[in-house]
């Protein structure tokens, strides 16, 4: 997802859909954290973000969703650093939905686009510094001393005379003071926690004992579990339904037809699933009955050939006369997010409002949407954010939240809507497919003089329903990662052709447009390097003279991977570098290819420049995680259509990378004093081209269509 300030239409959407009732601070305690709260006594509320108990336990209230990226540790670290808290006494609590927790980059409460640390780096440090100033003032007042004579350390205010008071002792008094307007933040050189290795995640214990509560773990009294029979062809609908056999299944309570399909509600998942299996439905398949992947490829290819809206134009690509020209067409398929936790939501529509329990990335938008679905005020929608069993953008979409709320409204009961794995895989909201035609030109010395790309793909902006294509007609997600080609090439021309095969619902997928466009660009630059007879690392480097941070990441990855030095027989290297979500990431993949063409990735060396870090251990894990996510898709990922139906259904035919295929991964962080960049996504884009480039080095065969295994 994007990380730039929103355009006007997006703000307008938020105004109408995401505004919360003023002052409604509802908190939902996460398991594992509640243990600490017991016996803590009455806590003092320093702000919406921070409470301090008499025993000095500190609760940081976090509005962002924890989906594995570590935000429930990073946000408390930001607060604790400026508060000079004793880290061992810090716990985290999930906030409810409130404008106080709006993501400063989105303007609404939502988690995505690798924005959490970028958006909260200052606000959360300020929250900590403000509370610290109030605690110091309270101590100074108690001692009738000057605040300037006091310092803070590990949860204590210490007077120059040696007198000490703990934050717990001071909190009640401090919370009554008026918060100072301007507080001074630490110079990064003074940081004790931020940027230092060794701070453990706050959710590890709950997640190592089975105590962490995810959306699927919610049980309410009188709750029904629902599964939905969805139309097998996108855009289809049920023409006739015979539910007699379904209703005869023990435990099945109700069968209802809703816009998205036919829902079976039962006492528990298994009865609901058996009930759905017993439904007899005649489907009207609608306009997509003959949709096929071959047809989709042809449509996209024709779009790329025809060209479209101009996204970038430098020099004069038409007039350029390179000594050598190469052309290629690349293709990437639709992809499912396939979070480990199948999609779900529990909703309870009551007279006075709606309450939902969900692992969602978008509390703010959900509040607005559900107020419309249930016919209540936004302030009457309460969102309990559970742990997310993976998000990757998919949990930004409102479909499970809407479905559960509709079913609770119809039945009057709490309803847990569960997607089976098959429903999840076939539930659309896919990473868009794309075909891109590129042209590269080299002068007689092998210097790049021309680059053009015609991208054809569906529009995520339009598909999102909260953005519109801008007036220039270029979908920013359709071209990101290729329009921003960093290489110093004088004649450069990028076009975007919007194509909507089957009007399929497309969506944000970890690293969004970069996920396919970086494969296109970084593979094609490799083709240009080989056409020029140059080393792919040196060729890139020579074109990055004006891009020091690209160059820095590229050089560090190459150095740490021993680029240019011998490898064991049969092992070859490929390299790629990408800027996305505020960070620069280069990766070198070491790959061997067996006789049938199957690659084996032995090692990946990554270098990331993400500015200053909060928790470098989590940064490294996120880059590794993003590599696995990208590598899985690069090797295996494809959603294909035949006769209007998605051909994949579960992990046997939508494959995941497994332990026995896992490469060694090394992540190196470029030392930096720049503002933080994003970290959840930037590791994903470089891996597909790095592996494809290594496969070319191994075999001389260029793979231009993902997945690499065909």
């Amino acid at each position: 997802m994007r990380a730039r300030p929103m355009n006007a239409s997006r703000r307008e959407f938020l105004k109408t859909s995401a505004m919360a009732g003023g002052g409604l601070i509802v908190a939902f305690t996460l398991p594992g954290a509640s243990r600490l709260a017991q016996g803590a006594g009455k806590e003092a509320r320093m702000s919406a973000y921070l409470r301090i108990a008499p025993n000095s336990e500190i609760t940081v209230v976090c509005g962002l969703s924890e989906m594995g990226q570590g935000v429930h540790t990073a946000i408390p670290m930001l607060v604790a650093e400026e508060l000079d808290a004793d880290w061992s006494r810090v716990r985290v609590e999930q906030a409810g939905v409130d404008q106080a927790f709006a993501n400063p980059i989105f303007g609404m409460q939502a988690t995505g686009g690798s924005t959490s640390v970028r958006g909260h780096w200052e606000p959360m440090r300020k929250a900590g510094a403000t509370a610290r100033a109030m605690l110091v003032a309270a101590a100074a007042e108690t001692w009738k001393a000057d605040a300037a004579e006091c310092r803070t350390e590990r949860g204590m205010v210490i007077h120059k005379s040696g007198k000490k008071l703990s934050y717990g002792q001071l909190a009640e008094k401090a919370a009554k003071l008026t918060p100072p307007k301007d507080v001074k933040l630490k110079d990064p050189k003074q940081f004790n926690l931020l940027g230092k290795s060794g701070t453990k995640r706050l959710d590890t214990v709950a997640k190592s004992t089975g105590r962490a509560k995810f959306g699927l773990d919610v049980y309410l009294p009188g709750m029904l579990t629902a599964v939905i029979a969805y139309p097998p062809v996108p855009g289809g609908k049920a023409a006739s339904v015979n539910d007699a056999k379904a209703k005869a299944v023990p435990g099945v309570r109700q069968v209802v037809q809703i816009p998205s399909g036919v829902a079976v509600l039962a006492d528990g998942y298994w009865a609901a699933k058996l009930g759905r299996d017993a439904l007899e439905i005649q489907w009207d398949h609608g306009a997509n009955a003959s949709l096929s992947s071959e047809g989709i490829s042809k449509m996209l290819s024709a779009g790329a050939a025809a060209g479209g809206a101009v996204g970038r134009n430098e020099g004069d690509a038409k007039a350029a006369t390179p000594a050598k020209t190469i052309q290629a067409e690349y293709e990437a398929p639709y992809l499912s997010h396939s979070c480990m936790e199948p999609l779900n939501c529990t909703a309870w529509v009551k007279k006075d409002g709606v309450e939902i329990w969900a692992g969602t990335q978008s509390q703010g938008p959900a509040q607005g949407i559900l107020s419309q679905v249930a016919g209540v005020q936004p302030g009457q929608v309460k969102v309990n954010t559970m742990y997310l069993g993976g998000g990757f953008g998919r949990r930004f979409a409102p479909d499970p939240v809407i479905g559960a709320t509709v079913l609770s409204k119809i039945t009057g009961k709490p309803v847990k809507l569960v997607y089976s794995r098959e429903d999840d895989t076939r539930g659309y909201f896919y990473r868009p497919a794309s075909v891109t035609k590129m042209t590269g030109g080299l002068d007689a010395n092998g210097v790049a003089t021309l680059f053009t790309a015609n991208v054809a793909s569906p529009s995520i902006m339009e598909g999102s329903h909260f953005m519109k294509l801008p007036p220039d007609g270029v979908d920013e997600f359709g071209v990101e990662g290729i329009r921003d080609c960093p290489y110093d090439i004088p004649n450069l021309h990028i076009e975007y052709s919007r194509q909507e095969p089957g009007n399929l619902q497309v969506w944000f997928w970890r690293s969004v447009g970069h996920s396919q466009n970086s494969f296109f660009l970084e593979s094609f630059i490799d083709e240009m390097a080989h056409a020029a007879g140059k080393d792919p690392f040196e060729f890139r480097r020579s074109l990055l003279g004006k891009q020091p941070r690209y160059k820095g990441a590229l050089e560090l990855a190459a150095e740490k991977a021993d680029w240019g030095k011998p490898l064991p027989a049969g092992v070859h290297r490929g390299i790629a570098v990408v800027f996305s979500f505020g960070s620069w990431c280069a990766e070198v993949a070491e790959v061997s290819v067996v006789s049938d063409g199957t690659p084996r990735v032995h090692r990946v060396v990554a270098a990331v420049d993400c500015g200053m870090t909060v928790n470098p251990d989590i940064v490294k894990r996120q880059i590794e995680s993003a590599i696995v996510f990208g590598l899985t898709a690069a090797l295996y990922g494809k959603i294909t259509f035949k006769d209007g139906r998605v051909e994949q259904s579960n992990f046997h035919d939508y494959r995941m990378l497994r332990m026995n295929e896992m490469p060694k991964v090394e992540v190196h962080i470029v030392p930096s004093t720049e503002a933080p960049g994003g970290i959840g996504e930037p590791g994903t884009p470089p891996i597909a081209p790095a592996v494809a480039n290594a496969m070319f080095a191994a075999t001389g065969k260029r793979i231009r269509k993902l997945p690499l295994l065909g």
């Binding site: 924890e66 989906m67 594995g68 990226q69 570590g70 453990k200 995640r201 959710d203 590890t204 214990v205 709950a206 997640k207 190592s208 004992t209 089975g210 105590r211 962490a212 995810f214 699927l216 773990d217 049980y219 579990t225 023990p250 006492d267 528990g268 998942y269 298994w270 396939s338 979070c339 480990m340 936790e341 199948p342 742990y387 997310l388 069993g389 993976g390 998000g391 990757f392 569960v418 089976s420 794995r421 251990d617 894990r621 590794e624 995680s625 993003a626 590599i627 696995v628 996510f629 579960n650 992990f651 046997h652 995941m656 990378l657 497994r658 332990m659 026995n660 896992m662 060694k664 991964v665």
Partner: protein
């Protein structure tokens, strides 16, 4: 009613004999640590032990568990191997989203219970049925070796 022993306690459940053990644990007994991932034994998120042997509870009918000792993530810490594995998971900060980790820990505990010093190949063989979408495989491998080393010293 069907009787089974879960983490040392005898439990009577009224579910149909064909109901997968996963849904008996979750929907009938409200033990939510065991996770639903795929429903067809392809991801390992639902792994529990039946008489000490790791099984995928999503495809194990209640009737097959009747009268047997079921161990879940909620009870694995009471075993020597399970305790060592959970401690190693915490020391190494293994989980990210955490959803697959109950199943990972159950598979790893079963491995260590029968093999006190697993090789990389042993780990591959025992753990490749467990999918982690966050990609924590290298941390899982490290934690298993750490657990093995700590159990040896204990």
């Amino acid at each position: 009613m069907i009787s089974l022993v879960v983490n040392g306690k005898t439990r009577e459940v009224g579910a149909a004999p064909g109901t997968p053990l996963l849904w008996v644990l979750r929907d009938s007994l409200r033990m939510t640590g065991t996770k639903f991932g795929c429903g067809i034994a392809q991801c390992g998120a639902c792994t529990v032990h039946l008489d000490g042997v790791p099984v995928r509870s999503c495809v194990t009918p209640l009737s097959a568990a009747a009268g047997k000792k079921v161990t879940t993530i909620e009870g694995i810490g009471a075993t020597r191997a399970g305790k060592a594995v959970q401690a190693a998971w915490m020391r190494n900060d293994v989980p990210q989203c955490g959803y697959c980790q109950s199943g990972q820990i159950m598979s790893a505990s079963a491995l260590l219970a029968k093999n006190r010093a697993p090789s990389d190949a042993d780990i591959d063989a025992a753990m490749s049925g467990n999918v982690c979408r966050c990609g924590t495989y290298n941390q899982i491998r490290t934690a298993i070796k750490d657990a093995a080393a700590s159990a040896k010293g204990a």
